[in-house]
C-alpha cells in the first residue's frame, strides 16, 4: 500500500515539475506579455496542483493535507487575479503607444 502511495507521489510530482519547467520555458521564450502570462498559469495551476496531489499521500494527517490544498487554491486565486491585472496593464500600455 505504501509502495502504491509512493508511486502516486513520484508520478504526480514529476508531472508537476514538468509543468513548472514548461511554464518557465514559455515565460522565457514567448514573444509578448499575454502569451507569457498564459505560460505562467501552467506552472501555477497544474504544476503546483500536481505537486500538492503528489504530497497528499505523504502527509501525516487530514489537517496538513487540507492546508496543502488551501495553499494551492490560494495560489490559484492570487495567480489568476494578478494575471488579469498584469494583462490589463499591458493592454493599457499598448493603447498609449
Amino acid at each position: 500500500m505504501t509502495h502504491l502511495a509512493d508511486l502516486v507521489s513520484i508520478v504526480a510530482i514529476v508531472a508537476g515539475a514538468v509543468f513548472f519547467l514548461a511554464g518557465t520555458l514559455g515565460l522565457l521564450r514567448f514573444p509578448d506579455t499575454l502569451t507569457r502570462l498564459h505560460a505562467l498559469t501552467k506552472a501555477d495551476n497544474l504544476g503546483l496542483g500536481l505537486v500538492v496531489l503528489g504530497l497528499l499521500p505523504q502527509v501525516d494527517g487530514v489537517a496538513t493535507g487540507l492546508k496543502l490544498v488551501v495553499v494551492w487554491l490560494l495560489v490559484m486565486l492570487a495567480g489568476a487575479c494578478a494575471s488579469q491585472l498584469v494583462a490589463r496593464a499591458a493592454r493599457r500600455g499598448e493603447r498609449h503607444d
Binding site: 490560494l74 486565486l77 492570487a78 489568476a80 487575479c81 488579469q84 491585472l85 490589463r88
Partner: protein, 313 residues
C-alpha cells in the same frame, strides 16, 4: 543531493544579489530584490530558521518590496536624468573600493568565527520553562530580550512619524497617498472582497501559534496589514486621516502597554521588563495582543505613505 540543492540555492542568491546591484532600471532592481527576498526565505527554511523565514517572506520580501515599488514608481520621472549624470571616475573607484572593503571585512568576520560559534541557545533553552511559552524565539523576543522588542516597536512608530513628516504642509492631518480608484466590478475589487476574510484568519492564526510554534505578532500583523492595504488599493476602503484620534491612540497603545508592564516589573519583580514568577505567560500574551494591532497599523500606514490630501472640512 541536499548539498547540491543548497549549493544551487546559494549560487542563485549570490547571482541575483549581483544582478540587483547592477540592474540599471530601478523598477527591475526592485522586482529582483523581491525575488531575492523569497530565495532568502528558502535559505532560512534550509537552515531550519522557520521563524526567520516567515519574517523574511512577510517583511523582507513583501513589505519592503511594496515600499520599494512605491519608491521606484515615484523616482520614474527623475531616473533618466539621474542616469545621465555619471559620477567622476575617482568617485566611482572610491565607492567600489569602499564596497569591496566592507564585503571583505564581513567575509573575514564570518570565516573567522570560532567553531562552534559562541551561543546562548543552551541557556535560553534551559530557562524557557520559566516563561511558559513553547517557542524559544518568542521566549527570547519577549522575555530574555524584551528590551530589544520594545525598542523595535518604538523605532517603527518613529519611522512612521518620519514618513508622515514628508507630507506637504497643507496636507498635514489629511489622508495619506492618493485616493485609489478601481473598477468596483473588476478583478482587484473581487480579490479585495474574497481574500481579507481568509487573510485575517491566517494572520491571527500565525500570531496566536507564535507562542509555541514558528510565527508571531510581526508576521501576523504584516498579513493583516496587507489585507487592509488590498481593500484600500481596490478603492473599497480609504486610508484614515493621520490626525484621527483612533489612529494616534492605536499607534501609541502597543509600546505604552509594553512600557507599563515593564514598569510594573520594576516594582513587583525588581527589574524593568522582568515578569513576576508565574505571570510570565499571561503578561507576554497581553504585550503581544497590544502590539499586534499597533504593528498592523504602522506597517499599513508606512506603505500608505505621507499625507497628501488636505483635511476634509
Amino acid at each position: 543531493m541536499t548539498d547540491v540543492l543548497n549549493a544551487g540555492l546559494a549560487a542563485l542568491v549570490v547571482a541575483l544579489a549581483i544582478w540587483v546591484v547592477f540592474a540599471r532600471d530601478a523598477f527591475a532592481a526592485v522586482v529582483g530584490f523581491i525575488a531575492y527576498g523569497l530565495l532568502l526565505t528558502l535559505v532560512w527554511v534550509q537552515l531550519q530558521g522557520v521563524d526567520v523565514a516567515l519574517t523574511e517572506a512577510a517583511i523582507g520580501g513583501g513589505l519592503t518590496g511594496a515600499l520599494l515599488v512605491g519608491a521606484a514608481s515615484r523616482l520614474r520621472g527623475t531616473e533618466a536624468a539621474a542616469r545621465a549624470e555619471r559620477p567622476r571616475a575617482l568617485v566611482r573607484v572610491a565607492a567600489a573600493a569602499l564596497s569591496a572593503a566592507v564585503t571583505a571585512a564581513l567575509a573575514i568576520g564570518v570565516l573567522m568565527l570560532p567553531d562552534p560559534a559562541p551561543t546562548l541557545a543552551p541557556q535560553a533553552m534551559a530557562n524557557i520553562a520559566a516563561t511558559g511559552v513553547g517557542n524559544p524565539i518568542t521566549a527570547v523576543l519577549l522575555a530574555f530580550r524584551a528590551m530589544d522588542t520594545l525598542l523595535e516597536a518604538i523605532v517603527l512608530v518613529f519611522a512612521l512619524i518620519g514618513v508622515w513628516s514628508l507630507g506637504p504642509d497643507q496636507a498635514w492631518g489629511g489622508r495619506p497617498g492618493l485616493r485609489h480608484r478601481a473598477d468596483p466590478n473588476g478583478i482587484l475589487a473581487y480579490l479585495a472582497r474574497v481574500l481579507p476574510p481568509i487573510g485575517i484568519i491566517v494572520g491571527t492564526y500565525i500570531f496566536w501559534v507564535g507562542a509555541d510554534h514558528p510565527g508571531g505578532k510581526f508576521q501576523g500583523a504584516t498579513i493583516v496589514a496587507a489585507m487592509w492595504l488590498l481593500a484600500i488599493m481596490a478603492g473599497l476602503a480609504d486610508a484614515p486621516p493621520v490626525s484621527r484620534t483612533w489612529v494616534r491612540v492605536g499607534l501609541a497603545a502597543g509600546p505604552l502597554v509594553f512600557i507599563a508592564i515593564g514598569l510594573m516589573g520594576a516594582v513587583t519583580a525588581g527589574a524593568f521588563l522582568a515578569y513576576p514568577d508565574g505571570y510570565a505567560k499571561p503578561l507576554i500574551i497581553v504585550i503581544e495582543l497590544a502590539l499586534m494591532p499597533t504593528l498592523a497599523l504602522i506597517l499599513a500606514l508606512l506603505i500608505a505613505g505621507a499625507p497628501r490630501r488636505p483635511v476634509e472640512p
